[in-house]
Amino acid sequence: MFDLFSDAAKVAQQMEIICSEYGFALWETMYSLLLEVLFSYVIGLPLGVLLVTGEKEGIRPLPRWLMTVLNAVINLLRSVPFLILMIIALPLSKLIVGTKVGTAATIPPMVIAAFPLVARMVESSLREVNQGVVEAAQSMGASALQIVGKVLLPEALPSLISGGTITVGTILGYGAMAGIIGGGGLGKMAINYGYYNFKFLVMWAAVIGLIILVQVFQSAGTRIAVKCDKRLRNRS
């Protein structure tokens, strides 16, 4: 593969590809990431809340069969390999976005793969909230909705942000795989030019781009989580 680097003409050709397509690929990666994270939380966040509040000892217990079904579905979706799940879910894309190909088409399968993860993340974050505080809110006459909105979510915020950071990293990884079925972005660039066409320079450029993105999101997420955690304030 290093032979290819020495071939000046090929290097120039690959550089040209990088220059002309990298920006758009990055943009596609970012906007599909944004939409995927958004919809994953739109579905996953309320589910995660229900997983905590709906259990037997929770603040608003739900029927047991419902909780069993909910848990089973989430586990099921979590256990199907992403690549397979994506292919199974493609017909759904036709239904929702009207097409089975392209970047938009990969968004519904990705959301289906990611929202169960989000639900579990949210669930574990909310479980960290001190039960005594929930009890104190109950003793003040808070409704279940008020407890979720004013106690559980705000108190778990640092942990939710950490979870969100992990989710973003995972979805970025899914996004690269979605390149296989035609989802645009850096992942597609790496697979199409690099893996299928032996343009390794392009592949590495795309991969390095993804690595940098993950690093940036991770450190930003950690920093925000620490900064908004009032439990970490030093005694003044």
Binding site: A137, M140, S143, R233
Partner: protein
């Protein structure tokens, strides 16, 4: 007169089968408006369960919880939530919201009620003054000491303008000095705002310091209930005696001699009761065990002495003792 809070025949059982534990057995307690009512018991006596039954954080299996004569157990959830605002609670572990400042913690119950933000903050600031922490408005719980956290919790409990304040082991996590400060704050609140205070504790000193009435809980049952002065000076139940004088020598089972229990209910400490007993009656007695305390020059506590077998001499001794001021005596029969 009906009390502000009346618990009638409360029973609560946890677990099933072999692990079944009766936390409360047919407990009835009446608390009058303006009381500082203490509920004391050793750990496992069911006192936390009892206080949590008052605002129905715990639902009793049987019995009713009357607040102003209205049975809370029969209310719909929404009505219950409204009533809970009139019965505030503070906790051993404070239970402040870690991600909110002290001021915002105090605003919390007012937010729940929908009080406008500006008005809520104004009131929260006044409450900070009340609990003596006007400069801690912007501090987060992690920056506060235990005593300060409990003060904020008290301010938060007062924010909904309650009629009753429940204190679940509120001073158990605090050092003695801070405990004293928190207790006198509770006393002030009781006096100035007319808020009825119900205190759960395992510390005798807490009851002694501020309560006017006390119930002693033992294995889920009310062993004794009454005015603090009466219960403390002359506890009638075994649990009561154990608590009042934790070191009192309960007669050992293998003692085969008659024993008398003398209760000192505020007799003058320097009065040589036992010496006079011996010189007056001429009957020698042996002190088998004693746990007395000197409070303000008055003796409180119990003492066990041996009695002669002869019924006449026994009576002579008991009569002498019962004739002394602030002293009562009876023969102990439970060990034979």
């Amino acid at each position: 007169m009906a009390g502000i809070i009346e618990l009638k025949g409360l029973s609560k059982t946890f677990g099933t089968g072999e692990n079944q534990v009766s936390a409360l057995k047919n407990v009835s307690v009446s608390v009058e408006k303006g009381d500082i009512f203490g509920i004391i018991g050793l750990s496992g006596a069911g006192k936390s369960t009892l206080v949590r039954c008052i605002n129905l954080l715990e639902r009793p299996d049987q019995g009713s919880v009357l607040f102003h004569g209205k049975d809370l157990t029969e209310l719909k959830e929404k009505e219950l939530r409204l009533q809970r605002r009139k019965i505030s609670m503070i906790f051993q572990s404070f239970n402040l919201l870690d991600q909110r400042t002290a001021l915002d913690n105090i605003c919390f119950p007012m937010e729940l009620e929908g009080v406008p933000r500006k008005k809520a903050r104004q009131r929260a600031k006044e409450l900070l003054e009340t609990v003596g922490l006007p400069d801690k408005a912007d501090a987060y719980p992690v920056q506060l000491s235990g005593g300060q956290k409990q003060r904020i919790a008290i301010a938060r409990a007062l924010a909904s303008d309650p009629e009753v304040l429940l204190c679940d082991e509120a001073t158990s996590a605090l050092d003695p000095k801070t405990t004293g400060q928190i207790l006198s704050l509770l006393q002030t609140i009781n006096k100035e705002r007319g808020i009825t205070v119900i205190i759960i504790t395992h510390q005798m000193s807490v009851i002694e310091q501020i309560c006017n009435r006390v119930a002693i809980l033992d294995s889920g049952e009310v062993a004794e209930i009454g005015d603090v002065v009466d219960v403390f000076s002359n506890p009638q139940s075994q649990a009561g005696r154990r608590l009042v004088s934790p070191n009192v020598a309960e007669p050992a089972l293998d003692w085969d001699i008659p024993i008398a229990r003398i209760a000192f209910n505020g007799s003058v400490s320097e009065e040589p009761v036992i010496a006079r007993l011996v010189t007056t009656t001429g009957i020698p007695v042996s002190i088998m065990g004693a746990a007395t305390r000197n409070v303000d020059g008055k003796a409180f506590g119990t003492m066990l002495i041996s009695l002669p077998e002869d019924p006449g001499k026994k009576k002579e001794i008991l009569d002498f003792l019962n004739g002394c001021q602030g002293v009562s005596a009876e023969e102990v029969t439970e060990h034979v």
